[in-house]
């Protein structure tokens, strides 16, 4: 139940901050999701969903951090190995 995969918001309904809901698409499967905890999330955003609640919006600008880190560390280790 802690497992969660990112899904894309395809529609939003309800203005009441605690009852804001939307449809989220998980690779073709649509689910009704409570959006009360991500008031900033809009249609087109990806969110992490747990037991029917979106808990975080995936930050597009950080999406490639895992690849950039690998490149930086490769360079760092090369520097280290080159200067004993």
């Amino acid at each position: 139940m802690c497992l969660a995969i990112p899904g894309k918001i395809t529609s939003v309904s309800g203005d009441d901050s605690l009852a804001r809901t939307g449809k989220v698409d998980f690779g073709g499967i649509q689910k009704e999701v409570n959006l009360a905890y991500v008031p900033e999330a809009q249609v087109g955003d990806y969110v992490i969903v747990h037991v029917g609640f979106a808990l975080s919006r995936v930050e597009e600008s950080e999406a490639s951090a895992v690849f950039e880190y690998l490149r930086q560390m490769d360079e760092l280790l090369e520097l280290k190995e080159a200067s004993p």
């Binding site: 009852a19 009360a36 747990h50 975080s56 995936v58």
Partner: protein, 369 residues
Amino acid sequence: MKYLDEYRDGATAREYATQIARLTTRPWAIMEVCGGQTHAIVKFGIDELLPPSITLIHGPGCPVCVTPLEFINKAIEIASRPDTIFCSFGDMLRVPGSATDLLSVKAGGGDVRMVYSPLDAVKLAAQNPSKEVVFFAVGFETTAPATAMAAHQAAERGVKNFSMLVTHVLAPPAMAALLSSPECRVQGFLAAGHVCTVMGCAEYEPMAAKYRVPIVVTGFEPLDLLQGLFMCVRQLEEGRAEVENQYVRVVRPAGNEHARALIRRVFEVVPRKWRGLGEIPASGLRLRNQYEAWDAEKKFGLADHDTPENPACLSGLVLQGRLKPAECPAFGQACSPEHPLGAPMVSSEGACAAYYRYRSHAPAAAPAR
């Protein structure tokens, strides 16, 4: 799928493993806290990509596994009542209680239903005013926002035939309890990314400082786990003990403040007994007094019993990272997902189930047949 497939790229994973091997000069033992992470590690064989000097210890972050037997028995007691609809996440239905399990209660005519969200249970209560609808609220900080909202909505809408059996647990106190044990072998942690999605990273700072242990908030995909391991090994090699966030695309330093606010409003922090770990101070959540009308334990007057665990199940040692699942004599023999002796073999996040599903079924010390 976007934000999923790219983090499972095999070539990048092997590159990460190579870099970790380059970085590592001596043995290190690192615990991944969350059962979801354990599952990904075993499924994708991440432990087998690592240099042999790095040992992964599987942590207690499986809510189904750490829910103590007395709560399973309480759930069964409620589910067996007439005019009651008992709602639960699917994982809990097959966890053995002392005498039976929830699925058997259902087979015997009990109205036990699997729900996706606690709000489904609130809805069921509104649709069935002549029944008592009870939700089994288990889980870590990741499911607490959903449970808090269910209590809040039931209270706002005056849904009086709804209540919850709450056994919520908190991850950081369990990590601190493991660290304070003299038998602790853990030198660094991969903290559970989705717990931090809700709670943020601040509560790990005092722990990293007090126990001199690096804590890297880490995601769940193979590349997340490998980057988290790299960051953790790098800290260990450099003699640092800091809190770092690998899962930056999802985890904000302050967590989700809206969710935290509702959790604080609905729940209070209490001591909680964990299966395999015993009672840990300030490690559970309970409904506050103003929500007691929705507290199933109070509503049905359930008594506390100290219930002994099945002695053939060594899940306590597994949950403390002192025994690998396949080292248990019952593993794959007396205990399997079809006939589980204990919860870690039932849950999709349980370490025993992960090893059973993805690794050889033979126990380490099995006699040759």
